[in-house]
Point group: C2
């Protein structure tokens, strides 16, 4: 007879808006305790957050227990009116994401829609995706609240700054 069916663990709960961006790069909303069992299956090496506020003690402790390095590139999450998204913060985050020694890596903000959407849009720029395809993906995550300021940021973002930092000698 065939071996027994694999035992079904209790349900694993990915964080809100979880998805795979690229091999070794994940995105989501803010991880909560109930998401920890699922996140352990990812064998993360790095958590990169875009939230500005102080990180919750429970999450920091979990990172230490899991031997996961914690990186914070804080960006204000406020909505319109038009406020500029700090280009140098996104650039610094991209440099860490491009460094495979930090993979597997999870990018998250609060909902996993806007700040994370901006950063992933810049990753797609680096991957030479067409702008239309980048915006389709951005809207899929940010619907129904897509923001023109985010899409404009992705469109105007200068990749040369990222390469300069990645290639800079004192790197």
């Amino acid at each position: 007879p065939p071996p027994a069916l694999p035992n079904v663990e209790e349900d694993l709960i990915p964080p809100e808006n979880f998805a795979i961006v690229a091999p070794g790069v994940y995105r989501s909303g803010f991880p909560m305790r109930k998401n920890f069992p699922f996140m352990e299956t990812l064998r993360l090496k790095t958590i990169l957050t875009l939230v500005l506020e102080e990180y919750p003690e429970a999450n920091l402790k979990w990172c230490q227990d899991q031997d996961i390095q914690f990186m914070q590139f804080g960006i204000p999450g406020n909505k319109e009116p038009f406020d500029n998204i700090p280009e140098e913060v996104i650039c610094a985050a991209l440099v860490q994401i491009l460094d495979k020694r930090n993979h597997p890596l999870l990018i998250h903000c609060n909902k996993g829609k806007h700040r994370t959407g901006c950063l992933v849009g810049c990753i797609r720029r680096i991957q030479s995706w067409s702008l239309t395809s980048i915006f389709d993906e951005y809207r899929r995550f940010s619907n129904p609240k897509s923001r023109a300021v985010d899409q404009q940021f992705i469109d105007l973002f200068q990749l040369s700054k990222v390469w300069e930092q990645v290639l800079s000698t004192e790197g």
Copy 2:
């Protein structure tokens, strides 16, 4: 001075609703000629389609040129009224998706929303995701046209049938 900036190829255009489901497993809408350059970056081994109609000659030729095996598990794409999604077809497709010798593999239907959404929902069942998380992902791709019949199919799908086929001796 740092080496020259990497040359920026013309834009790569992923097929509509393209995403990574799991390492080596992708999903999308129907690939078109303009998507071929992007798809070549995936180094696919298998294309698994859920469309019922005859596959376009140009796409078949491209598969042959790329040495990609072509699998068709046709499912009618019609909408309500309630029609049952053929469980044994989804089951047969899952058996091929679970076989890593077929990876990297692209799953597609027409829009990459409903039939593909059902199949990916069953993959998440196999990965023990909670139903809420499975439906969140399903809706993110099928919005604004999410279908209760798809979500019910995912909920009621019996994994034991897949395991029986995978483990069956004459496999």
